[in-house]
């Protein structure tokens, strides 16, 4: 025992700050989830508050907002998956076909850029460009004779706007993984395909796509797992009460009900409920992929 201690003392000491961080800021909150079964009272603290069992879960399930919120969260995630997932693959393949190295580098550099701009700025840009008074997009529409559209007040448009802005923000960055996979493809395969008289499209179909398919599958599992984990920041910044019908999702609801209105127990219960569903998603996605393609995360 003392031997193990002496041998590992220094390494454990190095690891200590990291361990403390995880215990305090990652694990303590997990134990704090007991408040979802209690009536958390600010003055009594977590331990002295009264047990209420599943009251808050029942409250959420019976809330008329329950289904709309689930639907909004799920649809937004699904749209992002369906339209956002193939976009960087397409861009990577297109970039791969570009022969001029300088042009390729320029396109890459520029397309990574929005990934480093804050959500506040991206949301501001979206809202201002779409503004009915003097916004860039409405100016263009006016030019072709279409009257001003109040984009950010149309519940029907929110999902599309959000997903498009997500693609704009992250498409370049997400191509990196595919471009890395592309460099691993043996150039001889392309030469062989050429010998067989394959056209450009044929080469993409028979050489490029199979070459990057492992990367595609792994990214797809990760993305399916994250369908319900839509970033809080950007939705929160882009939404307004006029479009809550489609723009209000679980995490923004948790913030409003839990943090702003102070219903800590209720808010945390909703969060935990979604966390568990998310976990089931990841697990199922991984299981399916292991069965179907023999690629999996674990």
């Amino acid at each position: 025992m003392t031997r193990i201690w002496n041998k590992n003392k220094a390494l454990w000491l190095l690891f200590l700050p990291c361990l403390l961080y995880y215990l305090i800021f990652r694990y303590a909150p997990m134990f704090g989830l007991v408040i979802t079964f209690k009536d958390y009272n600010l003055f009594k603290g977590i331990w002295a508050s009264d047990w209420v069992g599943l009251k808050y879960y029942q409250m959420f399930l019976e809330n008329p907002d329950f289904w709309p919120l689930m639907k909004n969260t799920f649809l937004l995630g699904l749209y992002k998956l369906v339209f956002g997932f193939p976009a960087p693959i397409l861009l990577a393949i297109l970039l791969n076909e570009v022969r001029k190295a300088a042009f390729k580098r320029f396109v890459q550099t520029v397309s990574y850029l929005p990934h480093f701009i804050s959500n506040v700025i991206v949301a501001s840009m979206v809202i201002m460009f779409l503004s009915p008074t003097g916004g860039l997009i409405n100016n263009l529409l006016a030019w072709i004779g279409v009257g001003p559209i109040n984009f950010m007040n149309e519940p029907g448009l929110f999902r599309g706007i959000y997903v498009l802005s997500e693609i704009w923000q992250h498409i370049g960055w997400e191509t990196i993984i595919y471009l890395a996979a592309l460099t691993a493809i043996d150039p001889q395969l392309y030469e062989a395909a050429e010998m067989d008289g394959a056209s450009r499209l044929r080469k993409i179909w028979h050489v490029t796509l199979p070459g990057i398919s492992p990367a595609i599958v792994i990214t797809l599992i990760l993305n399916i797992g994250k369908v319900l984990e839509i970033g809080f920041e950007k939705v929160f910044l882009m939404q307004n009460p006029a479009i809550y019908d489609t723009a209000d999702i679980i995490s923004t609801y948790v913030y409003r009900v839990g943090m702003v209105q102070g219903n800590f127990s209720y808010g945390a219960s909703i969060d935990l409920f979604m966390g568990v569903i998310s976990l089931i998603f990841i697990y199922t996605a991984n299981l399916l992929s292991r069965r179907l393609s023999e690629t999996s995360l674990w």
Partner: protein
């Protein structure tokens, strides 16, 4: 093109004279060049406070994150550390499950970190993704170098400081950049953990000025005829001023980001 144009448009509008902004005839180049919007933005003391706060959070946060992440990652990269696998499992679990917004807030509050600088830099000190990335970097360092250090009488901490750190400058730079950008752009922490406007970073100020729509000061009305439009170029100017550091530094550091992302992509 689609990526660059929005930035050029904002720059053009923010630099143009009001008449042209009102007539909506600006696309690429500023018309009736004037800097009055920038004078207004830079004359606002709020911007400077927010700038200072952001810089403090970014520098302090990046330093803390870098120290905690690198020491932790190094320990995890050493195959001979006892309990290594248990620690790894402990950390990986947090990638799939977390306490969520509210319990985390309660922890931060019970530590009296709400409305302090520490509330901004400690709760996010380690990103599991960056930790794994760094562990991968460190695993690549040849074992012989560590052994030679041991011959010279260094202990594990000495080996880390004298041998591993100097050898990993590039990876430190990459991870530092990841943390710095994250901290610079962070909006959710100040939203949750800060109360007093004196502590607000740029992102919160930006949201208040640009999205919540309260114009920065009473001066706005005296400048142009049509408030809405002047407000627009004022907002663009504010966005440009607060984004400029990233836009300027970006071309120089981009290759580090890409390298970091590549390592992450390959090792998964």
């Amino acid at each position: 093109m689609v990526t660059l144009y929005p930035f050029l448009h904002m720059l053009a509008v923010s630099l143009s004279s009001n008449v042209n902004v009102i007539q909506n005839n600006i696309s690429f180049w500023p018309k009736g060049f004037n800097l009055s919007m920038y004078k207004l933005v830079l004359g606002d003391p709020q911007i400077w406070t927010a700038y200072r706060n952001t810089i403090i959070y970014t520098v302090l946060g990046t330093l803390i994150s870098l120290v905690v992440t690198s020491t932790g990652a190094y320990a995890l990269s050493r195959k001979d550390m006892a309990l290594r696998n248990s620690f790894t499992v402990l950390i990986v679990i947090t990638m799939f499950f977390s306490g969520g917004m509210i319990p985390t807030f309660l922890v931060v509050r019970s530590l009296n970190l709400v409305d302090t600088v520490w509330g901004m830099v400690l709760p996010g000190a380690v990103s599991t993704w960056n930790l794994i990335l760094m562990r991968t970097f460190f695993s690549g360092i040849p074992k012989e170098l560590e052994e030679s250090g041991r011959m010279d009488g260094l202990n594990d901490i000495g080996i880390f400081i004298r041998i591993v750190v100097p050898l990993s400058k590039a990876s430190f730079a990459t991870i530092a950049l990841f943390y710095a950008v994250g901290m610079w752009n962070n909006f959710i922490f100040p939203l949750l953990y800060l109360r007093s406007p004196d502590l607000f970073p740029l992102q919160v100020l930006l949201r208040n000025l640009v999205l919540a729509g309260s114009a920065s000061s009473g001066d706005v009305t005296s400048i142009g005829g049509d408030n809405m439009v002047v407000e627009e170029s004022l907002k663009y100017a504010t966005i440009m001023v607060s984004t400029l550091p990233i836009l300027v530094i970006y071309p120089f550091v981009q290759k580090y980001f890409v390298k970091g992302a590549m390592v992450g992509a390959v090792k998964g």
